[in-house]
Symmetry: C2
Subunit: 342 residues, 2 copies
Amino acid sequence: MIVMLKQTFKFKSVPTDIYFNQSFSQLKKIIDIKQTVVITDENVFASHQQKFKHYNTIVLKAGEAYKTQATIDSVIEQLINFNADRKTFLLGVGGGVVLDITGFVASIYMRGIAVGFVPTTLLSLVDASIGGKNGINFGHAKNMVGSFKQPQFIFHDISFLTSLHRTEWQQGFAEIIKHACIADEKLFNQLQQHNIDYYKKNKKELLQLIQQNVTIKANIVLKDEHEKSVRKKLNFGHTIGHAIEMQYEVTHGHAVAIGITYANEIAEKLLEFKQKEIVTKLLEQYELPTYSSFNKNKIISLIKMDKKKEQQIIHFILLQKIGKAIIQPISFPTLEQYLKTL
Amino acid sequence: MIVMLKQTFKFKSVPTDIYFNQSFSQLKKIIDIKQTVVITDENVFASHQQKFKHYNTIVLKAGEAYKTQATIDSVIEQLINFNADRKTFLLGVGGGVVLDITGFVASIYMRGIAVGFVPTTLLSLVDASIGGKNGINFGHAKNMVGSFKQPQFIFHDISFLTSLHRTEWQQGFAEIIKHACIADEKLFNQLQQHNIDYYKKNKKELLQLIQQNVTIKANIVLKDEHEKSVRKKLNFGHTIGHAIEMQYEVTHGHAVAIGITYANEIAEKLLEFKQKEIVTKLLEQYELPTYSSFNKNKIISLIKMDKKKEQQIIHFILLQKIGKAIIQPISFPTLEQYLKTL
């Protein structure tokens, strides 16, 4: 497999160009720096300050706790101070939280301005940067407010990964394993042969892995941009995962790994899914949590606030086998029963 | 001219059905009341309480001063309390402010839910309800944040007009005169022959007038939904108008009438427009303000925050003659010079 340099995905609203394996300094070839405002967070800014010296930059506090309306208000105020207008280009440089904030602001500032993303974590490279979904949390309700807004481009510079913590590598692999589970058995087998250190050491293999996962996600999004059908499958592990993330001090990727584990327990009961141990083993191989104790009543009440619910039913994503997921409507009483027997 | 009962405008995102001359009680034929949440304001609610008794209803404080993020936050909280989900239908019942709030919330709640409008003022019947633009104010910057979101339908019940204040009739006619100025000389001539009391007394003529204006606005929006070109013409009178509205205690329609008057002064200087007195006379005939004293420096600094600006230029809408408007780029120094000589 050869790593491509650029690939265009023709989403309905805006086509998104994905530039693989680039260097940040080359961005100036595709954007006008004077018309650009960068949004990043304090961690990325501290580690890569020299990269931003020619840009108007808004620096956010880091972390999911700041994915709130208060942050949006502050960004808008700073944009007004920068005299940003309808021709201003917003560039999000960061992980999922930064890209969510940037995408959402770009969709509402002056009723929408153009946006591009530079994902700086493995998770955002393979997942959060692709597909145009953004959101902010509202109390305990995750991504309750947001929009669909495709970026004009996604620009990869994996030199940002050198400043990642171990836990961020783990989180990226939670979404990579998710992709393998729902759509690509071959990728699952490939992952079984390696581990985090292998991909950290082998740049070519890492670039290929990133591109494989971009392709899986982008092709699903292309089929169903507004998540009416097949795109829901990308929520595998995210229903219980989001609830755990909002309730406990757990990162997104770790919560998803726990969510995958329990979704497989339900799939075993409901669909006679037989491979739960293999998936659990792979999650552990990539240093991810699996079985965890949590307050089931609290988690159920949070799931009832999930966007995926409709009336008294939630669309749960379950595996029939590794590489094949289905969308299974489950009523809340049934879900409660399943969770309580686990 | 026969008043139609229903007309469909095929906007790109969602086609909008406009139902003319209906009765609110018939709404239940096109929506599922149990899945609907109504958003209205305390004035409409107080005058028409019995209409809402079968609906889950969110009642806003009335007025432009509440077109803010704080109101959006409060609506979202109430939607969560109503257990609103992706299948919930939002119904805005009110004037421009209520419809702006409802449209914006519908575009961001759970990344977008369906919305319909029941405009209850003349201004919102002929203007604000059509075209999908919404927005909230940010400090002194009008509609700084918002989106484009077409309603599934606009449902007219002119019995709501019985509770309108005189000033709200005047405001509606400001936008009607605007439509005539930019696009329809015949409508301008027709307006010259009548006044507010005539239209208040003659229901059939009022219904025809509403339909004429809906058609003018919807046809312009159809050509340019996202305001990249011809839709800008609908901003006639709104550049100076918005600035005056944000700076002084003036209603939207009255500010637009003042904005039209001064835009015509500039058109006289710049384009040798020769009909400014005729327009001023018509505005006065419909009890609207025209020449007013205002702090020119403050107004200019507010215009510099206008969304219509790009870098150092603002796209001003000027009349060549009654019925024909053009989009004229004017630099800020030039604009300042013009305003100061007035």
